[in-house]
């Protein structure tokens, strides 16, 4: 694999960049991100764990750490925000490209109860805060958060099982 990469590095890189990597590769990538997590000895060192995780995942994916672990090097997590990192995060546990994933997610979404469907649409498509969602659905902010969390968990497991 490494020889192949050396010979066709450029083309392969372009290919991997365009296509979503295989399930085995995402598992390797996940393991690598996890190892990075484990090496943090002082939890206080991380002000924003989510940004940290996204950044590590993206850097490792970009640098093809799966093909060549040694290349995964330093990073600067102060430069960008978590939502920017999320944009380029590879889909873990799924071999599907973005368009097919979204199409499948639409089907999964329809199986959710109406409160969960409305809550995620208001949050992720319309950008309402949890307080605003609660007001629109006439529930408490606690319940609004619960509907979104449940919907995410349910969609995630359905996607992982289908993927």
């Amino acid at each position: 694999m490494e020889r192949l990469f050396a010979e066709h590095g450029g083309a392969l890189q372009a290919f991997l960049g365009r296509r979503v990597r295989s399930r085995a590769d995402t598992q390797d990538l996940l393991q690598e991100v996890y190892l990075r997590m484990l090496r943090i000895s002082d939890p206080e060192a991380i002000r924003d764990p989510v940004l940290y995780v996204y950044t590590v995942a993206n850097n490792l994916a970009k640098e093809h750490a799966v093909l060549d672990r040694r290349r995964a090097s330093g990073m600067d997590i102060d430069e960008v925000a978590a939502h920017e990192q999320l944009e380029t995060l590879p889909a873990f546990d799924s071999d599907l490209d973005a368009a097919r994933r979204v199409a499948r997610l639409r089907v999964v979404l329809k199986q959710l109860r109406p409160k969960c469907q409305a809550a995620v649409a208001l949050r992720f498509t319309h950008g309402l805060s949890y307080r605003e969602i609660a007001a629109r659905l006439e529930v408490s902010p606690q319940m609004a958060k619960k509907y979104v969390a449940q919907a995410l968990a349910h969609c995630r497991r359905r996607m992982a099982r289908l993927g």
Binding site: L30, Q31, V33, Y34, L35, M37, L38, I40, P43, E44, I46, D48, P49, V50, V53, Y54, R69, A82, L86, E87, L89, A91, F92, S94, A98, V102, L105, R106, L109, L112, R113, P114, K115, C116, Q117, A118, V120, A121, L122, F124, T125, H126, S129, R136, L137, E138, K145, V148, A149, Q150, A151, L152, A153, H154, C155, R156, R157, M159, A160, R161
Partner: protein, 350 residues
């Protein structure tokens, strides 16, 4: 993926969803950040579900755009939805082989009540093994695993036997007794509730009596380790009926004939039984111990050639059936060299 794995995954996904929302709501408080880091570090499965949930949240922005129905229609339906009529959001995969946790809890509760009404002596009778009545006509079933192998076996009474690597048991059921002999290795027993027939496990110098519960028994050359996951068991020596010790959930009792009676100590039973999920969990444990644990499963043994490395502390969750991932982890440690030879995996100081 088995239904039990999927149930565990579903629980982790729920936690991941909650963490995502907490973070999504606004900057995390310092203690929440620390708690999230701890949660993510606890298992690669946690990290995987968190990243998976994140990707779903991102994809939902597009997926929620529905040309066929407006957001107002969706809100109206959501408001009209009757909370009391909602069926469970989680269509649990039916657990045919594995009794659910709830079922076990119920069984344990019933078992405790039965014990109270019938009297302890009758049910929790720890007797010398030689006095356990087992007619010769009762057939004995043998189950065994090879190195690195595991086995799940449903028994005639619906109890479930999980055998770990290099283990063997004999199962004999009569009308009055369910007798299991662990002759080597480690096993977890999910005991079906049957007040009329005690479930008795003989392992080395120990005997464990249960009615309906879940517990782990591991035979080592020095002692027998009994760990209770749910419910309560009575433990004694197999040779005598003296000094019966009660062991409850998340407790472990070390049984050695020379050191009896012993006192149960508090443990994380989920961790002791992580082998059921084909995982081994280490929390700041010396490499020597970690290697010994790994060698129970790995096709090639790990040998530590630099004595100073024996005490190196290791934390993490590893797959028992994926030694390569563990080798990769060792390689990632500073100053550690890993050499894979034909016979063994040599770990030394760089």
């Amino acid at each position: 993926m088995t239904s039990k794995d999927e149930q565990v995954r579903a629980v982790i996904a729920e936690q991941a969803g909650e963490w995502f929302v907490t973070n999504d709501e606004g900057p995390l408080a310092t203690e929440d950040s620390a708690a999230l880091v701890a949660w993510l570090k606890a298992s690669p499965a946690h990290l995987g579900e968190f990243l998976g949930v994140s990707v779903v949240a991102r994809d939902l922005r597009e997926a929620c755009v529905d040309p066929d129905s407006s957001i107002d229609t969706l809100i109206a339906r959501a408001r009209a939805e009757d909370e009391t009529l909602v069926r469970s959001l989680w269509p649990r995969v039916s657990a045919a082989v594995f009794p659910s946790r709830r079922w076990l809890t119920a069984a344990v509760t019933l078992a405790s009540l039965a014990v109270l009404s019938l009297g302890l002596s009758q049910l929790w009778s720890v007797r010398p093994a030689s006095q356990v009545s087992m007619p010769a006509s009762v057939p004995a079933l043998h189950f065994a695993t090879r190195h690195g192998q595991q086995l799940v076996q449903r028994l005639a009474d619906s109890s479930v036997l999980h055998l770990n690597t290099d283990s063997s048991v004999t199962v004999r059921y009569s009308d009055t007794e369910r007798l299991i002999t662990l002759t080597s290795g480690q096993a977890v027993f999910e005991v079906a509730h049957e007040p009329q027939r005690a479930f008795r496990v003989l392992a080395g110098s120990a005997q464990v009596v249960a009615v309906g519960t879940r517990f782990d028994v591991r035979l080592t050359p020095e002692a027998t380790l009994v760990t209770v996951v749910e419910g309560r068991v009575a433990v004694g020596l197999s040779a005598t009926s003296a000094a019966i010790i009660q062991v409850g959930a998340d407790q472990q009792l070390r049984v050695a004939a020379a050191e009896w009676p012993a006192r149960p100590v508090a443990v994380d039973a989920e961790r002791t039984t992580s082998w059921l999920r084909r995982e081994i969990v280490f929390d700041h444990e010396p490499l020597e111990q970690v290697a010994a644990e790994f060698n129970r499963y790995a096709p090639k043994p790990i040998a530590i050639t630099t004595p100073a490395l024996r005490s190196l502390e290791i934390s993490g969750v590893f797959a028992t059936d994926d030694p390569d991932a563990f080798i990769a982890f060792l390689r990632s440690l500073k100053g550690v060299r890993v050499e894979v030879t034909e016979k063994e995996i040599r770990v030394s100081r760089e």
